[in-house]
Symmetry: C2
Amino acid sequence: MINVNETHDPNLKSWIESANTSDTNFPIQNLPFCVFTRACTYENVRVGVAIGDFVLDIYSCYECCLFDDESFTIAVSADNYCLDHSVMKKNKDLQRAFRRRLVEILSETADEETRKNVQRNLIPMSEVQFYMPAHIGDYTDFYCSIFHATNVGSMFRPDNPLLPNYKYVPIGYHGRASSVVISGTEIVRPKGQNRSDDGKPPEYVPCKNLDYEMEVGFFVGKCNELGETVSIEDAEEHIFGLCLVNDWSARDVQAWEYQPLGPFLAKSFATSISPFVVTMEALAPFRVPAFERETGDPQPLDYLSSEQNEKNGGFDINLEVYLQTQKMRDENAEPFLLSRSNMKDLYWTVGQMLTHHASNGCNLQTGDLIATGTVSGEGKDERGCLLELTWRGKEPIQLPNGEERRFLEDGDEVIMKGFCEREGFRRIGFGECRGAILPSDS
Amino acid sequence: MINVNETHDPNLKSWIESANTSDTNFPIQNLPFCVFTRACTYENVRVGVAIGDFVLDIYSCYECCLFDDESFTIAVSADNYCLDHSVMKKNKDLQRAFRRRLVEILSETADEETRKNVQRNLIPMSEVQFYMPAHIGDYTDFYCSIFHATNVGSMFRPDNPLLPNYKYVPIGYHGRASSVVISGTEIVRPKGQNRSDDGKPPEYVPCKNLDYEMEVGFFVGKCNELGETVSIEDAEEHIFGLCLVNDWSARDVQAWEYQPLGPFLAKSFATSISPFVVTMEALAPFRVPAFERETGDPQPLDYLSSEQNEKNGGFDINLEVYLQTQKMRDENAEPFLLSRSNMKDLYWTVGQMLTHHASNGCNLQTGDLIATGTVSGEGKDERGCLLELTWRGKEPIQLPNGEERRFLEDGDEVIMKGFCEREGFRRIGFGECRGAILPSDS
């Protein structure tokens, strides 16, 4: 299933110079999809592909006859305003063929006429506004980091941090689809019920413990019908690509509301995603074995188990979270690195998440977003949210300019980054997922 | 806000005779919306209104110039294939004016030409196939029956049946929108992880404790933007109408998976809804005071509290659940009444649910479905699911033909009904929400 081929060759170069620098997120080996408009125009949103410092307008390329094959026509022509209406819903063979064609027209072996044709459909990324890459029918959030689950569990249940189901069930819950927003959208501090004093009634006040969660999301490509399951062997055929996710969380609201039905308003005020969907094909060189279970841990049940998943189900994706406060911006100080973690540390794979999700016959639809839950590692500096980093606020973070943080304050901006690096391969970047906190309207 | 007017006059009669019988669900005082096609045709789905034994095709009426007012044109003309693209998203003034116009053309005072015009757009309900009334962007399920919460709580936490947040927070969770299906859709018994023996690993097997939940749902009409809240005074302006909901539940899966993030696969395999959306306007005569709190119970926090809500926030809607097993069908036996409950017994009102849902700035969109959670009353025969009725299976139900049930078996059909009755007013019916269980494909 995982096929590292000529499209991953590190010697492959683009005639677009900015795609060949060593630090670009978007070499010709990446080619992530996005949805965009040219800023300050009234053009409709359209599907694009990132290459170096540019976005390639896919529909215009199609109009210029650059995808002159009937199968590509089907992929890009109709209703081409979001990915779930175009290439995302197609089968993997077509998606792979389309990737090869994109490489052809962007590589330095492309002829002059092709280059000219492509050139007129390249828009500098600085002139582009990004939109949601797909219509997200349903958004699901998992809880796949055993380090995160253990940390959070030990704060709330010191005797019994990890519940007995954790190593059998990829724990997840339904999130709110309507409030998933694109990177850059400002986040209004939510209000909610806060009960800080057990002796008094709760109050409806602006959230006091506002947090982020560093996650990775994946978009469902091929759908399954209601009542149908998806085998672990087929799971990745249903996954189109990955993005970064910030699952904003109101911790005080969450602590008070979450029993017995789980998080609700603590999460549904906003979830931010990065604009680029990095395809499963681009990530092929960065696949790693599934998380190594400890001696004595149960093996996954049969329906969640395959040799391929064991061998290659993981992803080696570096994740970084930065914070820039209002004061830091005023002082022109660089964003401060809060944590580094890696997707390979997740207990469950994307294939297991998808197969489990559909294991009751639930229909997953093209464009659905499924996120991993907070990606935390074992180390203290690998914790993917402030709840863990400051241990519920007990150990505030000291910022270089003298400020400290237990949770997020108004004006704070959280910046998430993701990238893959491996000897012998080009760097594959996810870009950024950003969001700044606005005060509550109280 | 609640206005019982001439459209509720019990003496108002329709020239369509079947709308005037005492037992019809759909007198001229009701006029619920639906989405349908004529069975066995290739026509597109379209919006309709139920009247007696017929469905009135709204778009065809518009084409026949029966809604010759510009405001109605806006309500019914564009993209008229589901309610959220037409009258549902309009403001209440227009919805009320549209109701008055429908009453005009259907009442016995309508002139001959109008009747003729209407007549050609009436389709016998027996020739109609119903579809989802709206595109449900997000589906949310609450937990509003204190009797249900107390019963279920006392099974799992005998010492502490009702959690401390219950009387402050309208508890809810995000459900799965993609698997909400229309009444009549057959439900495949889901598979899932079952751990019946603590000493052994769980098994992935067909659900052993399959259940229904008798609920009422409401559709969001007017939307609110992300970051905006909706005051309790305005809440009902955002509600279009109500329907019946069966929140199918896999109890064995639920017990094993639900901690700490709430129900997930135990619910997401299917949720059935009745095809008719009974408008808030039709239900005006059946509004009752909000649930009477016991002495010592906390008052709702300010943001969930208003005089109007206190006085008229409830609904007097009778709910009935029937079961018909395969054997009963084979023997031509009538469906067996399992329970009767009433929506007026809910601890929280629809206004409180909506205001709470948006209280963190979560954007509720036209077509979103919000359900009450199981509607149980105080009495043993008022319990809205088998979990409660059979007390986790310990007290099986004896059926008249000698069968017994702890949970649902393959071939069982669950039939839910809802209706309002009040001296001096016509009966307003919700129709039925039906679903039969198919065996797992195991």
